[in-house]
Amino acid sequence: MSEIDSLRASMTTDFDSRNMDWYIDKIVQFLVFIAGISAIVFIIGIFAFITLEGFGFLLEDFSFREFFLSPFWEPSDEDAPEYGILALVAGTASVTGLAMIVAIPFSLGAAIFIGEFATGKLRESLKVLVELLAAIPSVVWGFIGLSIMNPLIIDLFDVPVGLNVLNAGIILGLMAAPIMTSIAEDALKAVPDRYREAAEALGATRWQVIYKTVLPAAKNGLLGAVLLGMGRGFGETMAVLMATGHAVNIPDSLFDPVRALTATIAAELGETAVGAPHYQALFTIGIFLFIITFLINLTADLIVRGIRKG
């Protein structure tokens, strides 16, 4: 065999060598794949485990009519416990609704200011500030509702108790606003600069650029931001537990105390026996919450993706 031939032989084996490194590479590829699909596994796991725990209730005591249409949540009534979440849904909806009325205009306004008007240092510091606001834990917000907002509302509106829809709605709005602001600002940033440049080249003022070009182009992203903020408010637990007054009630006014779905689970799970109908009913509320937030997130995702495709 000539020298060239042997060299060629060694080269081909080189290219085809399945040595240690090759196997390690394949093993790692497999491991990171497992980690990659873990999020899917966990989402399915969450649904599976809360369904497993709530299953007994769904089979036996669950009545669709009572669960969704009865305003009476009286699970500890010994003779005839009633499991109606209508009042709880009304509580969650009223608080989240008010929170959105507070949060949407301010966070979209702030996003537009930070993303389109502010420049340089001002913009950076505002962004940092918004990020810090979003980091305040929900139990601290609940405490603020309890200890600062509560006396404030009693003083200002001359009502006996300040833990009500108004209190929780404002707290939740303040909580959701920074998150909505930063997602909305991302949506504005996703609009290509050439759109703005084209509009400016036609002589548009900054506001005209924003109003006629940027906002229409970012429409879906902004809607997504609103939906994600809503999902956050809907699923918030500690703040609404502490600031709503926690009374099962369909509210007539802003000053009525209410009780939210999430807060009910947080307040009652500790008092129930594992496997009891009440315990399983709380897990059934969990399934309901899971499905609603899943749908909100899915819708937000589809809306935001829609824009990227089109």
Binding site: D21, G36, A39, A135, I148, T181, T205, W207, L298
Partner: protein, 289 residues
């Protein structure tokens, strides 16, 4: 010829009007929080001392310090980090380095968004069903930490992915051309260039984990314990739950105590976030490419 026409003047005026309107909105978003922070400091600042941080609560939690709660939070955060950082970093490596742009990747992304969007109390229910009951960990630091790990996994994945994405593709190609395998490239080139970015995400996760209350209420955190946890199978007190307890469950608490606890909690969280942000800015200034 270049004089401003009435239309120009009008448009300028409208622009300024909106600029001021949106500035006001931004300020109105920030002012309440500044007021709240000031109130917290004014009402709770008086109780904060080294003693407050490092002694046990006494007199049925109406006096004394918060040491067991502080320590418990450290335990829970440590368990959560140990579980979620390796998993989250690996998941981000898969998504950024291996996964193609197809329906399967989209489903993974949707799952991540949902994991972040599921209410914290539903995570708590999952923790109870899975870790406390099914896996038999009981109410323990381990169960609470794992529940929080799954809840905050999206934070790690998203921030790690951002920093992996910031490593230029040319770096990888250069490495592949040297005959390195994918994993060798990731380990020797991609990760070293992304590690500081990953760290900012981890700090952010610490802050998120430390502040969460609902997921640990039923999985491992106790209202009051007369002893410190000895292992991950013990229950523990936690700072966030302690705030809830002294604010709502204990009668006769002096007013400045819950304010002090809230102040410590918020200071801890904001400090972590500030470190993470400062670190990120420092890195951005240092970037060579």
């Amino acid at each position: 010829m270049f004089a401003e026409s009435p239309l120009n003047v009008r448009n300028k005026r409208i622009e300024n009007l909106f600029r001021i309107l949106f500035l006001m909105m931004t300020i109105l978003l920030i002012i309440p929080v500044v007021v709240i922070l000031a109130t917290l400091i004014a009402k709770g600042g008086s109780i904060i001392s080294i003693d407050f941080l490092f002694t046990d609560p006494t007199n049925g939690m109406t006096a004394g310090g918060i040491f067991p709660a502080l320590l418990g939070t450290v335990w829970i955060v440590a368990v959560a980090l140990l579980a979620s950082v390796p998993l989250g970093v690996a998941a981000a490596i898969y998504l950024n380095e291996y996964a193609g742009d197809n329906w399967f990747t989209r489903i993974i992304q949707l799952a991540i968004i949902n994991l972040a969007g599921v209410p914290s109390i539903v995570h708590a229910l999952f923790g109870v069903g899975a870790f406390v009951i099914f896996f038999g960990f009981g109410t323990s630091i381990l169960a609470a930490g794992l529940t929080l790990a799954i809840m905050t996994l999206p934070v790690v994945i998203v921030s790690t992915r951002e920093s992996l994405r910031a490593v230029p593709q040319a770096f990888r190609e250069a490495c592949w051309n040297m005959g390195a395998t994918r994993w060798q490239t990731i380990r020797r080139v991609v990760l070293p260039n992304a590690v500081s970015g990953i760290l900012t995400g981890v700090i952010l996760e610490v802050s998120r984990t430390a502040g969460e209350t609902a997921p640990i209420m039923f999985t491992g955190a106790a209202f009051f314990l007369p002893f410190l946890p000895q292992s991950v199978f013990d229950q523990t007190m936690a700072l966030s739950l302690h705030l809830f307890v002294v604010a709502t469950q204990v009668p006769g608490v002096p007013e400045n105590l819950p304010f002090g606890v809230a102040l410590v909690l918020i200071a801890m969280v904001l400090l972590m976030n500030s470190i993470s942000i400062a670190f990120r800015m420092y890195l951005r200034g240092k970037k060579k490419w």
